[in-house]
Each structure stands twice: as C-alpha cells, then as structure tokens.
C-alpha cells in the first residue's frame, strides 16, 4: 500500500487500491466532459434542444432514463465523497480561499494549467487539430521559460489563447459514447469513457512519467501535491455553486448526474463547432478576459 501510494501519488493510488481507475472532472462536474457525437438515447433524452413548447405527450415519449446501471454502487461512492467533501475538501478549499491572495491563486492555477499543456498538445494531435497543437506547444515553451515555470501566463498576454483538451474529448471526436455513469472516489461524476480518458492522460503526461520513473518518495510526493492542488483550486471555484445545488436539491445525486450528462452533451456540441471562426474568436475572448 505504501509503495503504491508513493508510486502513483495519493489520489490515483487510492483509486487503484479500490480497483477503479479514475477519470474526468475533478470535483463533481467542475470540468466538462462529453457525450458522443452520434446521438445515443441518453443524449437525446438530455438534449438541450428538447422543445419545451410542444405537447407533453410528444415531448416526453422518448424519455427512458439515464445510463446508470451501477446506481447503487455509484450512490455508495457518492455518499462517501459527500462525507469527504464535508469533512475535508470543502473546509480546506475555504481556507485556501481565505488565506491565498488572488495573484497567488492565479499563479498556482497558471502553473497547473501549464503542467497539463503537454497532454493537451498530444490530444490536439489525436483530434487532428495541428494548429491548436502548435499554439499549445508554443504556449508551453513560452510560459515555462519567460513565464517563470508557468507562474505567469505570458503567452495569453501575447495573444496565444489556451486550448485545453484531454483524452476524453479525443474519444468524443472519435465518436465514442460516454458509457454508463460512474462516480469516482474523490473525483466525483464521470463515466466509463471519462475514466478511460483520465487514465490515458495520466499515463501519457510527461511529468507523471518522469516522476513515476523515480522510486524515491519525494518524486511521488510532488505528484500528490500536483493533483491535490488541482483538486483544491477546482473545488474553491465552485464552493457557492455546489452549496446552492446541494441545498436546492431533493436528491443531490440525481442533480449531479443530470448536470454531468448535460455538460457532456454541451462539450460534444462545442467540439463539433470548434472549427468555426466565431467559436475560436469567442474562446480567445474568454481566455484573455
């Protein structure tokens, strides 16, 4: 167990220990994943284009429920996550917010984003997006050098927008379905596809490969720090959002599952239209704003 923890970092090792390799969004739906480009039944049910003004009988005749055959297991993991979030993650996120000045938070986020850039680069190539891959690589080189190891997002200031992507998105572009819903320990909402995406990204990440190839504990400590801070910064961003959702839900599990599948569909839609100049321009505006 100890070796395992040191080998892969606390987070991933915990998942391996539990027999579930992880994926997808850190902290319940804070990072979008996607549904397939081909319209599965689940996607149709969740489709935001459902006509709210047509007759009820037509509207809901195709509603066959979500793809969640593992619901009992998912609910169990979800309840454990809720306890961990209540007892540990949310309080730590509150403290992080309270004690960390905004420029430092930005710096931490920039470093983490920069560390994930090589994985984005690889995935842009897999998605057949050489232009985005080039920009991502160029950003990584600029920010890692002139940007002081990524602390400063120097590249965005010079007009090179951030195009984050991951293997889950690559699978979307390849037409792979989400598969069943899956709640992962600590990581929250995901799916079979999201899990596969996370694992692929983890093992393709050059920094992870480097750190995992050293057997001294301090290398693996940095892995834990990296993923721990990533989880923390994402949780901090959604403290109020999660609080509101939780307090406004009869069944928070259902709410999170619904949001997960909707965001999958949204991301699939965005990927479809990603090549349009309007979307690229909009993304650039969002990055630089």
């Amino acid at each position: 167990m100890r070796f395992c923890l040191l080998k892969h970092g606390l987070l991933v090792a915990t998942l391996i220990e539990l027999g579930i390799l992880s994926s997808g969004p850190i902290v319940a739906n804070t990072i979008p994943e996607a549904t397939p480009l081909s319209a599965s039944q689940n996607e149709v049910n969740q489709s935001p284009s459902a006509d709210l003004t047509s007759s009820a009988s037509q509207e809901f005749s195709s509603d066959e429920g979500p793809n969640d055959p593992l619901e009992p297991l998912n609910r169990f993991v979800f309840s454990i996550n809720e306890i961990l979030d209540f007892a540990l993650l949310r309080p730590v996120a509150e403290i992080y917010r309270a004690v960390t000045p905004d420029p430092l938070k930005r710096g931490v986020s920039n470093v983490l984003d920069n560390l994930f850039a090589p994985v984005s680069f690889l995935n842009h190539i897999f998605q057949g997006e050489p232009e985005r891959a080039t920009v991502t690589l160029f950003r990584f080189l600029l920010n890692s050098s002139i940007g002081f190891l990524g602390i400063s997002d120097f590249a965005s200031d010079r007009g090179y927008p951030r195009y984050d992507t991951d293997f889950n998105q690559t699978l979307i572009t390849w037409g792979i379905d989400t598969g069943p819903y899956l709640v992962l320990p600590l990581l929250g909402s995901s799916s079979f596809r999201g899990t596969a995406g996370f694992v692929a990204d983890y093992y393709a990440d050059p920094l992870n490969i480097y750190l995992n190839n050293h057997h001294h504990w301090k290398y693996h400590y940095w892995l834990t720090v990296r993923y721990g801070f990533d989880m923390l910064r994402n949780r901090e961003k959604v403290i109020e959002t999660i609080d509101n959702l939780r307090s406004g839900s009869f069944d928070f599990y259902i709410t999170m599952r619904s949001i997960y599948f909707q965001r999958q569909a949204y991301l699939a839609e965005k990927l479809k239209s990603a090549k349009s100049p309007e979307v690229a321009k909009e993304e650039q505006t969002r990055v630089t704003s």
């Binding site: 979008p32 969740q46 935001p48 284009s49 459902a50 006509d51 709210l52 003004t53 009820a56 009988s57 509207e59 809901f60 005749s61 509603d63 429920g65 979500p66 905004d102 961003k237 109020e240 509101n244 406004g248 839900s249 009869f250 069944d251 259902i254 709410t255 599952r257 619904s258 949001i259 909707q262 965001r263 569909a265 949204y266 991301l267 839609e269 965005k270 505006t285 969002r286 704003s289």
Partner: protein, 195 residues
C-alpha cells in the same frame, strides 16, 4: 360615461402594448431587448444588500411572473408523468412549482452582486429564439448563459450548457419513480419543502 371610456381606452392600450411586447420578444432583436431588460432588473432588485428575505422573494416572484412561462416549465419538468396527472393535480402543481422555484432560486442572486451581464446575440430556432449572454463575476471567467424565449416568455435558461428545466425534470422524474410513481406522494414532498 367619459370616465368609463377613458378606463377602457387605457386598458386597451395597456393590453395592446403587452401583446406587442410579446410579439416583439419572439423576434431575435425583441428577445434580446427583453432579456437585457429582465437581466438588468434582476441584478438591480435581487442583488441589493440589506434587503429582507420577504422583499427578496417578492422581487423574485415578480420577475418570475413577468419573464418566465412557469406553467410551461412546470409541464416540462414533470416529463412523462404530466400526462398521468389529472386536471386537479396539474392545477395544484403549478403554484407549488412556482413556490419551489422561489424558495430555491431567490437567494442565489445575492452571490451575483457586482456581476457584469452582457447580452451578446440572438438567433431564431424554429418557434423560439435563443438569446446568448455572458455573466462575469468580479475576478472570474465569463460564464455563457443562454435563454430560450418563446411567446414573450423565457422557457429555459442554460448555464454553460446546463439547462435549469432539464436538471429539474431529471430530479422530479427520479423522485416520482422513487415514490412508486405516486404523484400525490411526490406533490406532498414538494409541498413540504416550500412550507
């Protein structure tokens, strides 16, 4: 006589204006203006500091009545179970649903103090208009928000691709199912939550 005539005239003018607003809101430009106005009023009335809970809920209800097709959304969120409800249940459900919306959403706007709300564009899609906007909290990234407008009212709001109506529908459908598809039990739950 003259007084009655005057009142009638005012009433005709008032309703004809409402009607033309509804028609206008169904065009992309009209829907844009409608959302801009509603958003501005929501920010003004729901993010004020030192407003009592009653006042906040009252302001929210006013905006809800004016801007949203609550009966239409109520029907949608019940999903397949709407057709199984009898008329009396449907009639009881709509005000319950509105009370639930008020309870769930009225306070959330307090977190939007200082936001910048920008309506970007609108596009016609079949019988409705989708208005795209962004909300930006101070120091945070832009959040895209889409509004579905038809018949002069909002039918759905999507924040970063997450639809309010679909999220509620999924939850309500699961609740009805977990209550052995007993609509009365489900409605008791909703009623209990708004008291």
């Amino acid at each position: 006589m003259i007084k009655n005539f005057f009142y009638s005239l005012v009433a005709i003018l008032f309703f004809s204006q409402l009607s033309s607003q509804s028609i206008l809101a169904d065009t992309p430009d009209g829907a844009k203006a409608f959302i801009e106005d509603l958003g501005r009023r929501a920010i003004n009335s729901l993010t004020k500091p030192d407003v009592s809970q009653e006042q906040l809920e009252s302001n929210f209800e006013k905006l809800l009545n004016e801007g949203f097709d609550v009966p239409g959304i109520a029907r949608f969120v019940m999903g397949r179970y709407w057709v199984q409800m009898n008329d009396e249940q449907k009639e009881r459900f709509v005000p319950l649903f509105k009370a639930r919306l008020k309870k769930s959403y009225a306070n959330r706007f307090q977190a939007y103090r200082g936001v910048v709300f920008v309506v970007k564009d609108a596009r016609q899609e079949k019988d409705h208009v989708i208005v795209s906007s962004t909300i930006q909290k101070p120091g945070e990234a832009l959040t895209p928000v889409e509004w579905r407008v038809a018949g002069g009212k909002i039918h759905d709001v999507k924040v970063e691709g997450v639809s309010m109506s679909i999220t509620i529908r999924d939850e309500y459908n699961a609740l009805v199912q977990s209550n052995n598809r007993n609509i009365e039990k489900f409605m008791s739950m909703i009623a209990g939550s708004v008291q």
